[in-house]
Symmetry: C2
Subunit: 378 residues, 2 copies
């Protein structure tokens, strides 16, 4: 961060694909309005990566781009994915690569009920849950293989904070096609995400953290998780509640209001946060933060929805709320609060036709962005 009087932030922008390009400019409007009001300044550095760039150049996300990103104070992302690119290439090559490269070990996904955003659940209008998802390990480490007569794999995986080496050798009798994938947890990985969850619980004034595992069936991996998480949570003077992920999903549709901070291994966090997005009324309001000790990245949870890209039908509020998380991370608490508060007020005070098209109203992407901006300026 510059040491001049006026705080100045360099923010990397990766609008990506589809509606990612529609919503990111609206998030920028909100950040600029907050900067004016709270006396800091922002400069933007745009990165072109995504489907278009890949189809034109064959390049997904080069290491030099990651180095460039590393010079930013934070990264704001739109959405990745295009039907012309086979699934997984951009998701793994851009999204997961960024998370791993910068060791963004926290994936924070707050789910909040907003006025004007009806839940499909009968009692679902008072959700205030933070999913704290481990973001660098589990089945996500990308170590897998498929073959016609067993699986042989040399394993080499480098994270900024540790390195894994080894091999897997499996044969099957009778010989047939098979596939295997390795799920991993390290003490470092589980400890640091648990500490983050504890800090967040404390900040929210809560004493309990719920940990979603599946140790009754997948004992070694999730038993390990439970052991380390228990140690950390005890040290922190909080209370850990264990629940199997299947039972958790069951409970969440029965009564989400009972939950606060939910700590999850990577894969379960992916599932539980999408479920919660559905419960709270949709992806149009779901923001997320990918936080590490280096560069952190902020993105709406929704996808690129290419079918409505450019039509003004995309709801920019998830991107704007992601920008609010970014401002909080940068230490601009007031600005962060003002952006989130503006979204809240806009939804609370709007007649139904002033709502975003995605929420049944008539306002386009940029009209919604303008409305939120003017509420920040006030």
């Amino acid at each position: 961060m510059s040491k001049t009087d006026r705080r100045n932030y360099l923010i990397g922008l990766l609008p990506g694909d589809g509606i990612g390009r529609d919503v990111v400019p609206e998030a920028c409007k909100a950040v600029e309005a907050a900067a004016d009001r709270f006396d800091f300044s922002v400069s933007w550095k745009k990165f072109p990566y995504g489907a278009e760039h890949y189809l034109k150049t064959g390049e997904v996300l080069p290491d030099e781009a990651l180095e460039e990103m590393g010079k930013c104070h934070a990264l704001l992302q739109g959405a990745i994915g295009d039907p012309r690119v086979s699934p997984g290439i951009l998701e793994r090559g851009i999204l997961l690569k960024t998370r791993f490269y910068f060791d963004q070990y926290v994936n924070l996904r707050p789910t909040l009920s907003f006025p004007g955003v009806p839940s499909p659940l009968k009692g679902g209008d008072c959700v205030d849950i933070a999913v704290v998802r481990e973001n660098t390990e589990d089945l996500y480490i990308g170590l897998g293989a498929a073959s016609s007569d067993g699986v042989r794999m040399e394993i080499g995986m480098k994270r900024p904070s540790y390195e894994l080496r080894g091999f897997l050798n499996l044969s099957v009798d009778p010989v047939m096609d098979m596939a295997a994938q390795i799920a991993l947890a390290t003490k470092l990985g589980v400890s640091r995400i648990t500490r983050y969850a504890c800090a967040l619980a404390r900040q929210r004034g809560e004493k309990e953290i719920v940990l979603a595992t599946k140790s009754n069936a997948v004992k070694e991996l999730y038993g390990f998780w439970e052991g380390i998480a228990q140690e950390v949570v005890s040290e922190e003077g909080l209370y850990l509640k264990l629940i199997n992920v299947d039972a958790l999903c069951y409970q969440l549709v029965k009564d989400p209001s009972r939950f606060g901070v939910i700590l999850c291994p990577n894969l379960f966090g992916d599932i539980v946060s999408d479920l919660l997005a559905g419960i709270a009324g949709g992806l149009g309001l779901c923001a997320s933060a990918n936080i590490g000790d280096g560069l952190s990245m902020f993105e709406p949870v929704h996808g690129s929805a290419p079918e409505i890209a450019g039509t003004g039908r995309a709801n920019p509020l998830a991107a704007i709320l992601s920008a609010s998380l970014m401002l909080e991370h940068l230490g601009e608490q007031q600005a962060s609060g003002a952006v989130k508060g503006a979204v809240y007020m806009y939804l609370r005070d709007s007649s139904s036709c002033e709502l975003p098209i995605e929420l049944g109203g008539s306002k386009t992407t940029s009209q919604v962005g303008d409305a939120v901006r003017s509420m920040i300026e006030e």
Copy 2:
């Protein structure tokens, strides 16, 4: 099956723990009533395994018991689990062991909306979904290890239909505690469950099967799944729709009525079926079948709920519906239909105070069982 005039079935009973012991007798009542009406006979063979037996003898489920079970035409189970036994021991030692030993590769979990059973979802009262869960592979194979300086594992796993051998050797730098678990899919495993899903779709008059994976992040394992499932579904002349499990959970709370047959790898099937149980109004009505080419096993999805065991508060309908699945599997279609129909009529025609306690009424476990029995007899 005996070749005498009158069909006679030997059914193994494993009431297990907690409310398992309360609900299994009610399922037996229903089966006996159906036998009388449709002219077959049933004998029962009871197995004592569960927490009580384990705490008394240290024995979980010996191989000789499995051999004895193998002589039965089917197995009806209650529920497993007790707070005095550390989590996982009985679940893996009884439930998973039985599934694996008899290669019960299908875990069928129908979710149906019943009258009198309100959904927590605003539009959730017309669900008719069958989750077809692969039941022998995935992260469930029990190959995992945790250690203080990397993971070394000799792997040996025997299924009736194939055998796996090999080793995993992982080291981590800097040295620290870690854990790893292997997830597996074989061509045999994916093909046979996909064929089952196709047959079921055809029986339901549906053309589409939805497959839940996570191939955009966990490519090798779930990409393999998609490839084999696609082959089989095409051969069978049906249509396969791919969806990531996170998006599926999101869609299910938004609008479950759009779904019919959902095919899932083991772990996702566990999660999705519990979520659906919640959506359809609770575990009190959720039956399941563990089906293989040898002995098949039928069980309610709910747990042992020790806190209400013996109080009459357990809802036996899930166990009774599991018995209906068992009768269908035995080829007693009419009897199966009569049992399911009786549950339906009982729920439809009951005033709210005639409902089970679990559904807000006043009827105890055995009163509910009696009511259903008399509807079968009619």
